[in-house]
Symmetry: C2
């Protein structure tokens, strides 16, 4: 089977986004009526999924998507901790309903109610609710809840440890994924996303996080940011900083997806990164939605790039399926339960 | 000939760095005596150059390095505008003396006395001093003088236009190069440098800078940050943002160097980026100084990666020489004057 580890509900019903607008308006002016999450019928969800993600799964030939709320709309920098919590719960509940309607096609990944400067208690509670209550298999962790001002401590800081303890206890990984940028220097999907990936990787190189949490796992999306292209730089920096070789250190706990939207990038990724660290992902329908005039195919139809690789079927199966089942053991358990 | 477009005086005499230390101490405590730049003899300069950059030029087989002050020590976020100016002048004067001692081996590239929130008047004056007075051929422009807080406007903002007007008038390009990071999220050479490259490129994609300045030129170092690896993403984003195709827009004015420290990265760079946009660079002796255990050669001996490419001599000559002479016309004029 083909597991797409990176999908967001970018096509959620408009009333969900309208709730967010009302929520932020209410935050700016508490005299307004306090909004409640949109009441969304199953048919509305079916329509937005069947015409979009499900149609593309069928068309492009993937089986199951790890599905989380729209990343750019997490907006941890907007409102406050309370606003972030109610928005996050509404977003995650919607994902839960998609998974309930299409249990064969989607598994849930939650966003966390982060907020700049806020403690992680609410994120821990929400993670537990989503995993134990809604059957989710992972979470998205934003290393920069300030939205482009980078005011939080690095991911290796003890600030994050209570969340990591819960992730280890629940045996769920986090995808490191920022949200929108409110810093005009950083275009969200063209700079902020990729920079965050690169930044997180280098933090892991510098730190000793995986000594403290040997089973903690992160997926760095967008093909690992700039890292595979600069793999020699990172190998060299690890050596200069007297860190262990990457293969014996960061790469035991860190994985890259395949959201790299052209063949030469994917070719490089599989050339330099151990196949055991690569998870198939597309982030469809996401940052780049057009057709590549050079190929006539959608940029984010990443399955084509993997299909075109000179790898045997066993290796492709690692990228398409078995790595994801190893990194997301709760997904593996679900799949085993369903298809014994 | 082989022109290395990216070298910093990372081996400057210790007394130069001591001046900086005294300068920052004096800034913190104005009761201390005001320091003056170190008095450095020609022999000291000869020693630091001949044992290092010049020795490696000979050993690795390059002819001329575009040489600028140590990037990580520019430290625009430290001190104030006045401190930045006197430090910058001392740094540039030292480069001027290296060039004077070794005019066949080095051409000068200046740092600018930027300072967070400060106007660009001092940078314009210093650029003119270095180009007209010291014969320099380009400058390094820091898109984030705050050192990792990204408080300046994007490079496409009119804030920068007076400097661009001077660059156009003098016909000199800028390398986009940040300095040290004072944000603990960003390792300088492992995240901040690469992020800045990616960020600047995306700013150019979003903006219309080169409509206003058709002859303005930038070199984005470190192989263009994450850009070539994500070339499909950038082509797709340009299309989604209704920008012209990259080849007809940004890539008329923007060039990437070859500071990518492994063969697969360089292979990708020349596969996706037009050869007319690639300038040979090594940044030796810089961020990554060790030997790659996989090859037995220095990571930053980038000539080896170019030599290994399946390109004919004419194409290699573009990367090694002719592109640099086109992007740096004052270098070309100097070389023509010297070797008629």
């Amino acid at each position: 089977m083909i597991i797409d580890c990176h999908g967001h509900y970018t096509t959620a019903p408009a009333s969900h986004a309208q709730f967010r607008e009302r929520q932020l308006a209410w935050f700016a002016n508490p005299a307004l009526p306090a909004p409640t999450p949109a009441v969304i019928g199953d048919d509305e969800i079916r329509e937005t999924i069947e015409m979009n993600q499900l149609a593309l799964q069928r068309k492009r030939g993937s089986d199951l998507t790890l599905f989380s709320p729209r990343a750019s709309a997490m907006g941890h920098h907007e409102g406050d901790e309370t606003v972030s919590l109610s928005w996050t719960r509404a977003c995650n509940d919607l994902i839960g309903r998609v998974v309930e309607l299409y249990p064969d096609n989607f598994a849930g990944v939650c966003q966390l109610p982060q907020s700049p400067g806020a403690p992680l208690a609410a994120s821990i509670t929400e993670l537990e609710r989503c995993v134990r209550g809604l059957g989710f298999v992972g979470c998205n962790l934003n290393p920069d809840p300030s939205g482009g001002h980078w005011t939080a401590p690095p991911l290796t800081d003890r600030h994050w440890y209570p969340l990591y303890e819960k992730m280890v206890e629940l045996d769920v990984p986090a995808m490191v994924h920022v949200s929108a940028s409110c810093n005009p220097n950083f275009h969200a999907t063209g700079a902020h996303y990729i920079n965050a990936d690169t930044t997180a990787f280098m933090q892991f190189v510098q730190g000793d996080l995986f000594r403290d949490f040997p089973t903690l796992r992160f997926v760095i999306p967008h093909g690992g940011g700039a890292v595979p292209y600069h793999w020699g730089r990172y190998r060299g920096l690890a050596d200069m900083l007297k860190r262990p070789p990457l293969a014996e250190h960061v790469m035991r706990n860190v994985f890259f997806d395949t959201c790299v939207y052209h063949q030469p990038g994917i070719d490089l990724l599989v050339r330099v990164i151990d196949l055991g660290n690569i998870l198939f992902g597309s982030e469809m329908i996401g940052a780049v939605r057009g057709v590549d005039p050079e190929t006539g195919h959608y940029f984010d139809d990443t399955r084509r790039y993997i299909d075109a690789l000179a790898l045997d079927e066993r290796d492709k199966r690692r990228i398409f399926e078995s790595n994801a089942r190893r990194v997301y053991p709760r997904l593996d358990a679900r799949l085993k339960g369903r298809r014994p």
